[in-house]
């Protein structure tokens, strides 16, 4: 069965279109090993290898308080002017919250 092709102006036909529409925008990337990245998406490929500019990396570690044995989540941040991200570590990519909120 052949479906007639509809062509809306801006469309998400395949998941990677969501990433394509985020080019040159600030995106949020959730990575393996409790790492998060925020940065401007300069380039990407089908593996989700990405080049991020003005990137901020947030690493979450769990430390155990020696007295109370409570788990303390500790976030360490650092800024990287230009970052190449290998795609296999990527879990989730979220485009920026649209302007005008």
């Amino acid at each position: 069965m052949e479906e007639s092709e509809q062509v809306p102006a801006v469309t998400v036909k395949e998941p990677l279109d969501l990433v394509r529409l985020s080019l040159d925008e600030k995106i949020y990337v959730k990575m393996r090993n409790e790492r998060e990245l925020k940065g401007r998406l300069h380039a990407y490929d089908q593996h989700l290898n990405m080049v991020l500019g003005d990137a901020e990396e947030i690493v979450t570690t769990i430390e155990i308080d020696e007295e109370t044995y409570e788990e303390v989540y500790k976030k360490t941040k650092r800024n990287i002017p230009m970052l190449f991200v290998r795609g296999d570590g990527v879990i989730l990519v979220s485009p920026p919250i649209r302007a005008g909120v």
Partner: protein, 81 residues
């Protein structure tokens, strides 16, 4: 042979635009409306909610999930909360 594939492609067609739960290998659940998916099981979700240990942790307007992390996609009849 194509008969065997039919239920799969039917399921995939049926869940487009429907609320789904996507579970990742890490155990994290994503609830949202399925925008599309591809052969790698990369998934685009809308109105995404991230549940860690059953607790709502984060919301994303749109979210791209990389297919290698996906454990399953489950179609929801109705959205809770």
């Amino acid at each position: 042979m194509s008969n065997r594939k039919e239920p799969l492609s039917q399921f995939i067609q049926q869940i487009h635009g429907r609320p789904v739960v996507v579970k990742l290998n890490s155990g994290v659940d994503y609830r949202g409306v399925l925008a599309c998916l591809d052969g790698y099981m990369n998934i685009a979700l809308e109105q995404t909610e991230e549940y860690v240990n059953g607790q709502l942790k984060e919301k994303y307007g749109d979210a791209f999930l990389r297919g290698n992390n996906v454990l399953y996609i489950s179609a929801q009849k109705r959205r809770y909360n």
